[in-house]
């Protein structure tokens, strides 16, 4: 199975135009900024918003919340802001990078249309600091768009004004959490906020704010050009449209794939992904970024790749990052590596995450360096329980934000599916020690 013949929304231009899909010339020559004209001059803000709502598009960041519904929550007070979350930092995810490097104008046009629809006159695009090349491409695109009058005052004579500020992050995964991103944008530490209030009511500078992922907004021009219903008609109803999946790890064809959801994991990993290397078997995979609980062949290979099906099976499609592990993987080290990531990225505000994630990392350190104890298995699970009581899905949190529970996901998955390996590792070390 391949994705040939399937509708391509986000990657069509870049596939067809290798050398200049990021330039404004190519963008305009391939129908770019027609949606803008249609939206600003024909449809008006309410209709633009209605099309996006009708599209049923769900957020392409981590939370998968319906974008049109989210826009509807925006409080009436003005000024309001639109903030695009380009802080793609979930391990395994690299789709927004491709969108930014190869087709930034798609995002820019989407930002202008979205701002118009919800009544925002100043939009911010937050790009993680480790993406200087995408940020350069984006800034040039924004500059070119300003030059052409697509951004600025009285755009296309519509009476609509918009400023766009591109803002560079500086290396903090937690800033991908929308309220932490707002704090970061305000010039503060990127610490998540208490909710309520939600950003739609009190967000950037305490004003009503919409936060959306790069990929989500990049779909808006197509939706306006082709209609929300056309988008809603693609793929399963609750996982409508196309979405980018980032495939990495032990597969022969890693990369970003714009797919229609609904296929099975088997199809994704073995057909599109090209399967494992010669002589290797699939051991486990992470369906939606390193925060997600693991899937295993015995249980999940033939389940559908949709947002809701994955959720029902106890994980999440999240950012769409699929990380494949074959049987050469030391799953204990893999789990440790993920836990170490969260310990490093914890903002430090709340006790269970700040102390607990590092404690988990240290226990893994001991196990991996030959000093594990039999009691460590229960200890790992109990420390995890202190962060996420019940270790269920979706997680209950003792923490301010889901980062803490994310660190417990690999621990739970490891013990659920590979406990014997952990026991064996510890026993071996104890025997030798």
């Amino acid at each position: 199975m391949s994705t040939d013949g399937q509708v391509k929304i986000l990657t069509a231009r870049m596939e067809a135009n290798r050398t200049d899909s990021h330039t404004i010339e190519r963008y305009e020559a391939t129908g770019g900024y027609t949606a803008l004209r249609k939206g600003l001059l024909e449809l008006g803000p309410e209709k633009v918003g209605a099309e996006v709502k009708a599209s049923n598009i769900r957020g392409r960041g981590g939370a998968n919340f319906p974008a049109g519904v989210k826009w509807g929550f925006l409080a009436a007070a003005r000024p309001a802001y639109l903030v695009v979350n380009g802080d793609e930092s979930e391990p395994g995810t690299f789709k927004d990078r491709q969108l930014l490097e190869r087709d930034p104008h798609q995002l820019v046009e989407g930002v202008i249309l979205t701002s118009f629809a919800v009544g925002v006159n100043h939009a911010f695009i937050y790009i993680r600091g480790e993406y200087p090349k995408p940020a350069r491409r984006l800034q040039h695109a924004v500059d070119d768009a300003y030059q052409k009058g697509y951004i600025g005052k009285d755009i296309l004579g519509s009476g609509f004004d918009l400023e766009i500020t591109v803002h560079l992050g500086a290396g903090a995964y937690i800033c991908g959490e929308e309220s932490a991103l707002l704090n970061s944008l305000e010039g503060r530490r990127g610490e998540p906020r208490l909710k309520p209030p939600f950003p739609a009511i009190e967000g950037l500078y305490a004003k009503p704010t919409i936060v959306n992922n790069v990929e989500t907004i990049s779909n808006v021009p197509w939706i306006i050009n082709n209609g929300g219903l056309a988008y809603a008609g693609i793929g399963p109803e609750k996982s409508a449209g196309t979405r980018m999946l980032s495939l990495s790890g032990h597969v022969n064809n890693p990369g970003n794939y714009e797919i229609v959801m609904g296929m099975s994991w088997r199809d994704l990993i073995f057909d599109i992904g090209g399967g494992m290397a010669e002589g290797r078997e699939l051991k486990a995979w992470i369906p939606g970024g390193s925060s997600a609980p693991w899937f295993v062949p015995a249980e999940h290979l033939d389940t559908p790749v949709t947002i809701d099906d994955v959720a029902q099976h106890g994980s999440m499609l999240g950012s769409g990052a699929v990380i494949v592990m074959d049987d050469s993987t030391d799953v204990i080290a893999a789990a440790h590596r993920i836990v170490r990531f969260y310990a490093h990225e914890s903002c430090g505000q709340c006790t269970p995450c700040r102390e607990g994630t590092t404690w988990l990392e240290r226990i893994f350190n001991r196990i991996l360096s030959g000093r594990g104890r039999p009691s460590d298995i229960d200890l790992l699970l109990d420390v995890s329980d202190g962060i996420s009581p019940g270790l269920g899905w979706p997680p209950v949190m003792t923490t301010i934000c889901p980062l803490g529970p994310s660190a417990t996901a690999p621990v739970v998955s490891l013990m659920k599916y590979f406990r014997a390996e952990v026991e064996a590792r510890i026993a071996r070390e104890v025997a030798h020690g």
Binding site: M14, R18, T19, D20, S21, P79, E88, S89, E90, P91, G92, T93, F94, D96, R97, Q98, E101, R102, H122, G129, E130, Y131, P132, K133, A135, R136, Q139, T165, H167, L168, G169, A170, G171, A172, Y173, E186, G187, R188, R189, G190, Y205, S246, L247, S248, G249, H250, P254, G255, N256, S290, A321, I323, M325, A333, A334, R337, F341, H344, E345, C347
Partner: protein, 218 residues
Amino acid sequence: MKEVTLSPAELEAIRDWNEDSRRLAREVLGKYPDRRSAVMPLLYISMIENGYVTAAGMKSVGVLTGLTGAQVQSVASFYTMYKREALGDYLVSVCTSISCFLQGADDVLTAVEDESGVPDGETGEDGKFSVEHIECNGACAGAPVVLVNYEMIEGVTPDKARELVNWLRDGGPDVISTDEMQRLFGGQRSFDWGVEEPEGAFLPVPAFGPYGSAKEAE
């Protein structure tokens, strides 16, 4: 957006900054409804000035944004990319998060440490290299990933990593170009990069032109 006029005290605070940086500072301050938001880009500009975030740099940023030194330090120390110690000419970063780990990134890091003589998290005495491991850099299909002054190379093997270190050491380029390095030392890419990128970095500060140190690659 507009360029902002600075008060005498604010001008005094960045008196030692070069003209480009001063202009950038004024531009950046005008990009946000609230001055405090400019803390992050201003810290990058101060890094361009001093090579890393210094106490004096933080103080200047504080004056421009109306924050105390402790508040600026609080923000600067939260983010990994604001380096608060002097760096070498080349910051070599190796991703060791899960996807790169699965493709042997630990061996690439070891190769870099070994070839450069600089352990992870440190700067060599000769001031040539700073070596660090980093978290997921968003290039997972091109794992393992190595960055030089934040310009990315995908699909780096341990052997190629050693070659890279030596290439940098034996008269590395003034401007680091991601495409050049990819050609010489890279392998599998996450996606088709398309056309070459004309800009690159010349400092271990992210080259986010026009706010960074992006320069035309020769």
